[in-house]
Symmetry: C2
């Protein structure tokens, strides 16, 4: 059995608590002989800053590069609100994405039937929802240069951020979206603001070309990002795969997540290009929710998004799709049994702490 090397980066806030439940799952898989994972731990975000005055150390970056997959908790919190911009907690995550070349961020937004009531949207609007948002993750305004604040004198400053996209960046994220659509409901909706942004014009043009050249069997639709956002709120079930840039993807995937009523449930995968020699791709898996400093350390956090992110690692990095299906089924079964962490509780359900939820999922497995 192949040994897989994982780097676990719990990060800040509730990160360590939810990561502990993944560690528990990994230990069990190893003990049962179902898989062979070697894990290392590292620091990222505020916890790395507290230890080394950086958002991630060179040592941990090296470990991330050497690992077969990175499992990431969450970063940030008010404690680090005034650290210098370059070493703010988020910088660690952004560096991991950029330096590992993780250009494709997959964010499924699935509405669990047992939780449809928790959504602020009407049940019939979201019940059965199953969208995949494919967000470009290493380009756009997140990384474009110049990115500066300049003192103009007279009490005036000028801030500049730059959105840059090259053809190849749009092509490769487009292919990820079309490939996923083929395994789903065969429809891709590309979102940009071509009526205002030149990057939107190019995005639209390249998506249209990739589609025409390589994916004629998939339906491609274009929506402006603002009306796309509206449609997401109005009638989300019209979508299958949505492909969009880094900043629109940030906004739209969070909104899609909120529709499901279960932010604490949603995983994400960030993937690099497939190496032509090793056939491997770098990858990082993280929950969509943040570090939730307000509830950290109290056993209140929902570990499902984190466990489900590890499930995506099994599927996308280790070709263990069946095991991933079992993890998903275990989560669904535990929810159906009525067990709930505080964020998803409702009348008639049984309250569970972070570790009780983790244990229950493991028992179900």
């Amino acid at each position: 059995m192949a040994t897989h090397k994982l780097l676990l980066l719990p990060g800040d806030g509730i990160g360590p608590e939810v990561m502990a439940e993944v560690q528990r799952l990994i230990d069990w898989l190893n003990a049962q002989g179902i898989a062979k994972f070697e894990t290392e731990q590292g620091l990222v975000g505020g916890s790395a800053y507290d230890a080394h005055k950086v958002s991630i150390s060179e040592g941990d970056m090296a470990k991330a590069t050497a690992a077969d997959a990175v499992v990431f908790g969450a970063v940030g919190g008010p404690k680090w609100d005034s650290v210098p911009y370059e070493v703010r907690p988020e910088a660690g995550l952004l560096r991991l994405r950029k330096d590992l070349g993780l250009f494709a961020n997959l964010r499924p937004a699935v509405c669990y039937p047992a939780l449809a009531e928790a959504s602020s949207l009407k049940r019939d609007v979201v019940e059965g929802l199953d969208i995949m948002i494919v967000r470009e993750l290493t380009g756009g305004v997140y990384f474009g240069e110049p990115k500066t604040i300049t003192d103009l004198g007279n009490g005036q400053k000028r801030a500049v951020d730059t959105q840059v996209y090259d053809t190849y960046e749009i092509e490769r994220i487009g292919r990820v979206a079309f490939d996923l659509a083929r395994k789903r409901r065969n429809k891709v909706t590309s979102m940009e603001k071509r009526n205002v942004m030149k990057s939107g014009v190019l995005w639209n043009e390249v998506m249209t070309q990739v589609h025409a050249r390589e994916y004629k069997d998939v339906t491609l639709e274009h929506q402006l990002a603002d009306s796309g956002g509206m449609n997401l709120v109005k009638a989300p079930k019209q979508f299958d795969v949505i492909v969009t840039d880094n900043l629109f993807g940030d906004m739209l995937s969070d909104i899609a997540a909120m529709l499901t009523g279960s932010l604490g449930m949603l995983p994400s995968a960030s993937l690099g290009e497939v190496d032509s020699k090793t056939k491997k791709r770098r990858s990082l898996f993280e929950p969509v929710h943040g570090s939730a400093p307000d509830i950290a350390g109290r056993g209140l956090a929902n570990p499902i998004a984190m466990i489900s992110s590890f499930g995506m690692a099994l599927r996308y990095s280790f070709d263990m799709g069946e095991l991933a299906d079992k993890v998903d089924a275990a989560i669904a079964a535990v929810l159906a049994s009525g067990l709930r962490t505080a964020d998803i509780k409702s009348e008639g359900t049984t309250p569970a702490s972070t570790s009780q939820m983790g244990e229950a999922i493991l028992k179900e497995l």
Copy 2:
């Protein structure tokens, strides 16, 4: 009685139909001696392109500059999808905003009780909703340079857009938001992505300063634009005034509009700086909805957003707050009577065409 000069720019799609209802209202106000409006008409968007191969002619720009207020319908449609970028329909609107210096875009998102059911959100989440989104409208990625597509050879192109904000631009939009909050529920939420964008860092810093210097009596809160978007979907009633940049404002105001379930109902005002001599400010009023080419010319369009935008003109440009209140009350009364255009129809209501709705509002007045 002072004479007010209006430039009406109906634009494309349903623009002319809904503008006709404003014209009817203006004619009546003039005939009754309630006000004295002089109106001119101009072309913008696709209709300007069809006539003059531009998105707005120099002549109409001059009229817009000379007018006391511009009343704008909507622009765009598939017919003009492949006209050159520089003369696309939206360019006319963007030029009006920029050249008239209309930096402050006010977008109220109000949920009419009679229409709460039309929202995709649960009634208790949106009933009574009353948010004001204050969007910066002449800066950011909409207008920053460079804004280019460059051919890099080898089939590769590079698209660049630039987000630029200066201190004074953030200060003045901040003041608009704080002033509005004082007349409302005294709370401003500023949204940006300071964890990723330098413009977000400056935005946050300047808002905090303006607040500390001039508006300590107003509550100021900061949210990241992505989680702000989530909160808008989850629990929108937590907000009073939201202030944000041009692109985030585009996305967030559309989402807020959709929450209300009545996009066809929502007006907007775009305001310039107050001239220190004349005490006047340039202004443009437009519905939040677009040109809806699919239903254009069939009497299906809802004229309420357009009429209500004219109501904002009465309030913000002509100091006729009482008359504006009467227009709002007439709209509410007609809705309460059960009259509905197709976009907001539901069981047990009475269908109305565009002009029937316009007439009914006028009769109510």
